[in-house]
């Protein structure tokens, strides 16, 4: 199993322009991931995303925009220490690639940097999961995961 990268692909029945807007704009980002998001969707913009209530024990996480090529690519780095410039080795890199496909969009997501940063970050990722904090969510997936172990050499 590849420990360093997560890759996912999903077909969306919407134009690349619409999908690009949803994956890149802070207003949409907080609809599908953190509770708050503050950044400009321009390359090099440094901002933050917030899990929970900013003023009541919420977690503020650094978020830096890397690439913005509408409607094809949007990428950002996150989890780098506050005040540091995001770079390989101190952050996770998330890249969305959009390809027009049959009247819709094939959306490919990759997240890399786990190998470089270590698995503590994966635990961090798990803590940031909105909506899915209960074991009733994890346990069925645990079973599915363990089933995949059996095919390893």
């Amino acid at each position: 199993m590849e420990f360093g990268t997560i890759e996912r692909e999903v077909f969306v029945e919407a134009s690349p322009e619409v999908v690009f807007e949803v994956v890149s704009s802070p207003d949409h980002l907080k609809e599908w991931w953190p509770d708050d998001a503050r950044y400009e969707a321009t390359p090099g913009s440094r901002g933050e995303i917030v899990f929970g209530d900013r003023d009541a024990g919420g977690t503020v996480v650094a978020f830096s925009v890397v690439d913005v090529v509408p409607p094809r690519t949007f990428s950002f780095r996150w989890t780098h220490p506050d005040g540091e410039v995001a770079a390989e080795g101190n952050s996770l890199l998330v890249t969305f690639d959009l390809t027009p496909s049959g009247g819709g969009t094939l959306l490919k997501m990759t997240e890399t940097g786990f190998r470089e940063m270590g698995w503590e970050v994966a635990v961090l990722e798990q803590q940031y999961q909105d909506h899915f904090t209960g074991w009733d969510f994890y346990l069925p997936r645990l079973t599915a995961y363990v089933a995949t172990l059996k095919v390893r050499p």
Binding site: R8, V12, F114, Q126, Q129, Y138, L142, A144
Partner: protein, 116 residues
């Protein structure tokens, strides 16, 4: 922790969790907030002795914690260790599955609204 040590610990962790009976036990312990070899064996198709053995394996990798309860030990799941095991692999991917499902839903709703 060095990478090699981390990998060894993780191997043991995953092998402990890789057994279906032990996973069922973890499930029961989570649902019921804890249990003993006796209470668990009443709900599983294995003997009390077998359950005690499995509990020993889970205890060694830190997935459960024992406290004395009369003549027996009462076990609880160590949430942090289980969270760590699960988090390492399965749920990072699942987190993105859920996020992408939401992205898809939002984008398709916008597209439909634009066509109407």
């Amino acid at each position: 922790m060095s990478t090699a040590t981390a990998e060894k610990v993780d191997d043991e962790l995953w092998s402990a969790i890789g057994d279906p009976t032990r996973r069922r036990m973890l499930d029961l312990l989570l649902v019921e907030g804890g249990g003993t070899a006796t209470t668990l064996s009443q709900q599983l198709p294995v003997t009390r002795q077998a359950v005690a053995k499995h509990l020993g394996v889970l205890d060694r990798v830190g997935l459960v914690r024992a406290t004395p309860a009369g003549r027996e030990k009462r076990y609880r799941v160590d949430d942090a260790q289980l969270a760590r095991a699960v988090a390492q692999l399965a749920s990072v991917g699942s987190a993105w599955d859920a996020r992408l499902r939401r992205i898809k839903r939002i984008a398709e709703a916008i597209q439909r609204a634009q066509q109407d």
